[in-house]
Structures are given as structure tokens and as C-alpha cells.
């Protein structure tokens, strides 16, 4: 059986493209299989407050968004669209959950609102929530995260190795290698992106979140312009379960718009503290043309 390194250029490119797809599938399966625990090995199950749920669903960013939405809904904060600033109108007598109070304390009275800065300011309370979620088995531990990212990225690394070897063969034989170099660069970028994307929820966390989204499906209506307001605590729960995008059409739409990056897509997730397992970046196909052979 001949070595793949001896294949003609176009044939090798086709093989490489096929292996890239296979690498993707394998990476997704590996990553998913390593997101322990996969079932309820702990007592906690589904007893989460709105901010714990938000952080489970969308990381620290979503937890902070949920807290801000609640503070505005309860009249503790007002958002000025023109100046992009918050104004505290908090009632001193109102009891708030710890995370909510921390968010209110961190909101600056001067300076335009910047979600990233506020997330940083709330790093400590978010870290406490993260510990609780980890203890409940709903998010993976740091070591599981690193292991899952590393192991599941191996298929890309192996493929990259194959591509680099073929480039060497091509150079030695004086064959064109441009397309293969491009494919290897793309593979390299995918590998880096895969390694950099944190694994967040465990498979048990996925199951709990799916169940809670189903159980609380009617909450999705909150935040829209026409639905009546819910009970106290409904709105942060709705944001936590269904994302800040539910605020896009209702009375908080100015705040929602202010949270989005310029030209942003409206995602409620940001940064590397977000998301569950699976998925990666895109990849390009190769052209025909030579490499090696």
C-alpha cells in the first residue's frame, strides 16, 4: 500500500479535505465525551438561582447581564441611552441577592457603560458562582477543561503534521505547494481556536439546562414590548435561560443595544468564559493544484 505522501497533488488535497472533516467530527466527539460528569452524581440537581443559572448557560457575561436587567426592572438602575450611563436610584431598604448587590455596587456613576469592565469588576462573585457550579457537577473543572481541549485538538495536530510532511516532500520534488500551505495554515488556525475555546458545561450541566429551558419556556415572553411583566425574579431567570436577546424588543432595548459590540451579532455570550462543548471555527476547502506527488 502506497503512502499518502506519495499521492499526486490534487489527490492529496482531496484526501486532506476529507481528513479535515473527519478530524472535526472526531474532535467534537472527543470533546463531548470528556465533559464530565455526564449524570447527576451530586445532590444539587436543579436548585440554582437566576445568576447561577445565567452563568451556567452563558458564563460570567450572561450572569452580569441578568443582574443588570433585574436591577433596571426593579427600578434600582436607570439607563441613559444618550450618555450610555447608568444612574443609581436604588432604594436602600430593598433586599437584594448577593450577586445583584455586587453588580449594583460595581456600576459606576460616571463613565460610559462598558460590559467588559463590569464583568471584570465582578470577577470575585463570579468566581464564587463558578465554584458552586463546579461542586454541583454542572460545569467542568479546570483540569477537565484543559484535558478536554488538549486531547480533542489532537486530530487537527495529527492532520497538520501530515500536511507539513507532504509540504516537505513537495519542496524536495520541486512541486507547487501553495494550496497545501494554505490548507495547513487554516488547519493551524483551527487547532489554535479549538485549544483556546474553553469547555464550560459538563454533559450533566447540558441536561439540567435543557430541562430548565423546557420547564420555564413561558418565560421567553418576558422582555418583549407587549407581554405583561412577570413576578420579581422572573426577568433575570428569563435572561439566564434564553439570553439577553430577549430584551432586544422591549423597554430595555436601549440597554441591550448598548451591550452589543459595534456591528455585533446580538449574542449574549462573550469571551472565553462562555459556552458549552462542541463546535469550532470554520475551515476552508482546498483548491486543486499541486503539492507533492
Amino acid at each position: 500500500m502506497s503512502s499518502p505522501l506519495d499521492l499526486r497533488g490534487p489527490e492529496f488535497l482531496i484526501l486532506y479535505a476529507g481528513l479535515l472533516v473527519a478530524a472535526f467530527v472526531m474532535a467534537i466527539l472527543l470533546r463531548r465525551s470528556m465533559r464530565y460528569p455526564i449524570e447527576d452524581q451530586f445532590e444539587a440537581g436543579g436548585k440554582l438561582d437566576a445568576y447561577e443559572l445565567a452563568q451556567l448557560a452563558g458564563g460570567r457575561v450572561l450572569a452580569v447581564q441578568a443582574a443588570l436587567a433585574q436591577l433596571m426592572d426593579q427600578g434600582d438602575l436607570e439607563f441613559d441611552k444618550a450618555t450610555r450611563r447608568f444612574r443609581k436610584v436604588a432604594r436602600p431598604d430593598r433586599k437584594r441577592p448577593e450577586f445583584e448587590q455586587a453588580a449594583l455596587d460595581s456600576v459606576a456613576d460616571s463613565g460610559p457603560f462598558h460590559l467588559g469592565n463590569l464583568v471584570k469588576a465582578l470577577a470575585t462573585p463570579c468566581a464564587r458562582i463558578q465554584e458552586g457550579l463546579e461542586a454541583a457537577g454542572l460545569v467542568v473543572s479546570r483540569s477537565t477543561d484543559i484535558m478536554a481541549r488538549t486531547v480533542s485538538s489532537v486530530p487537527f495536530l495529527l492532520l497538520l503534521g501530515l500536511g507539513l510532511m507532504k509540504i516537505q516532500v513537495g519542496v524536495a520534488r520541486g512541486k507547487p505547494i501553495v494550496f497545501l500551505v494554505m490548507l495547513c495554515m487554516i488547519t493551524g488556525l483551527i487547532w489554535i481556536f479549538w485549544l483556546a475555546t474553553r469547555v464550560h458545561r459538563s454533559r450533566w450541566g447540558d441536561a439540567v439546562l435543557a430541562r430548565l429551558r423546557r420547564d420555564h419556556a413561558p418565560l421567553k415572553v418576558l422582555g418583549s414590548g407587549t407581554a405583561p411583566t412577570g413576578r420579581e425574579g422572573d426577568l433575570p431567570l428569563a435572561v439566564g435561560l434564553f439570553g439577553a436577546a430577549i430584551l432586544a424588543r422591549g423597554p430595555m432595548r436601549d440597554f441591550y443595544t448598548a451591550m452589543m459590540p459595534p456591528g455585533g451579532s446580538g449574542t449574549s455570550c462573550g469571551g472565553s468564559s462562555c459556552g458549552g462543548g462542541g463546535g469550532g471555527g470554520g475551515c476552508g476547502g482546498g483548491g486543486c493544484g499541486g503539492c507533492g506527488g
Binding site: A217, P218, K220, T226, A227, P228
Partner: protein
Amino acid sequence: MIGARTPIGIGWRPELALAIDRYEPLGFVEILAEDFDPDRPIPAPIARLMERGVVVIPHGIGLSLGGAERVDRRRLDHLARLAERFRSPLVSEHVAFVRAGGREAGHLLPVPRTRESLDILVENIGEARASLPVPLAVENIAALFDWPDAEFTEAEFLRELLDRTGVALLLDLANVHANARNRGVDARCVLDTMPIDRIAYCHVAGGHEESGLYHDTHAHPTPGAVLELVRDLAGRVDPPGVMLERDDSYPAEAELHRELGDIATALRAGAERRATSHAGVG
């Protein structure tokens, strides 16, 4: 006919999904047939209601049973498939027409109360019944005018229609109130003549008066006079269900639950009156 675990229902609207989900003594919901696609998954809030035993009734507004044109088979098929999808015990429509000569009225229009109109309705309803997998109930509408040369009163017309077709009546008490008020008659006297022995379920709703006319808006709280009709009705028969219609200016959850509670209270008061009256006769 409904088979609901309680007689209290409400028109399901996405904006009210949360408040409806939280109303524990709910027996049934009515969905607007034209808003749902039987090929798509059942919306999660409605699936939750069905899991806890709430009955779902598709309610059409586009069949135009009173129109001179034949009933649109696609609309009929749509209604039939919804009934199967939602495991409904019946579907409902209106004694009205909504299109003519290729034009849509955009509103439910009254039919002339003549023998000719009755014959058309009977034919269209017959065709509808043949295509539907479940029984059909037809609703009396609110009308700001009556066609001239009526041969029947509204109650007579409905009874004749029900007798000839075998369908049930969706008695809209808010419409009885609106029509009576706009014609200067006593709604309770009108109720006396209605075929209340053929009721599948009832509607109640709010409205408001403007320029001397009462409009059944579905955007205001149910007036006391309509709740009085519920009490009256329940004092004579046991309605299988009474539901609230609210299509706009949605109230807060507590207010909505209170309004549903008022309907339940009116039903109970009527039932007590009925029990007392039967005890007296016995």
C-alpha cells in the same frame, strides 16, 4: 364535550403564556387556528399545558361558513390537522362570513337571518363536518348592524342552525351582551331564548363604549354585566367551559388570574342557585 378537568379556560396568546402557565385551575385553552402550523412542533408553553391535562381547542376565524362561496378545503384541512396535532376534542368557528367576491373583509361579518342564508350555512357546515375528525361548535358574533328583512331572531336562527346541522354552540356571552346593549334590549331576556342546551363552551370578554356603541374589544376587563350573564347561565345549565378572551392591552399576571377567578366565582354562584332551585322543585 370538552372533557376539561375544570370549566375555566382562556384564549392562549404568546404574550400571556407565562400568566396562563401559572394559573393552576386551568381546564382548557383556545388557540387561534390561523396562527399555528400543524407541521411545526407544538410551542413549548402549550406542550407543557397539555402535559398537565389542559385541553386545547383550535378556533378558526377564516372558514367563512356564512359565505356564498364554498368552504376553502385548505383551511378545512388545516383545522382538521390542528385538531389531530393538539388532540383536541372539538374545533370551533363562527356564524359569519369574512370574504366575498375575492375580497377579504378582515372582520367577522353577520349573515342575514334568512332561510337562504341558513341553507348556505347548513351546506357549508355539512361540508366542514364531513372533513373534520372532531365535532364542530359555531359561535354567535357581535355585530354592529343587522341586515334588514330578518326572518328569525338571532336565537331562533341559531337554534334552527344547530337543529339542522347537529353542531354545538360556542356561546359568546360578551357578544350577547354587546348586541343586546347596542339594540337596547335586556341581555338576560336574550339569553332566555338562546339554545343553551347545546353549549360546547362559552366565551367572555371585555369591551368599551365609544360614540354610543359598545365594542367587544377583547382589550378591557370583563364587565360585571357579562359576569352576571355567566351567573345566569350557570343558574340554568352546567356550562362545560367558560373562557376569557383577551387579545390586547394584556394585564399583569395577578389581574388576569383575578379575572379568571371572577369567572369561576360566577359559575359557582350560578351552580348554587341552580342547586337551590332544583331542591325547591324537588
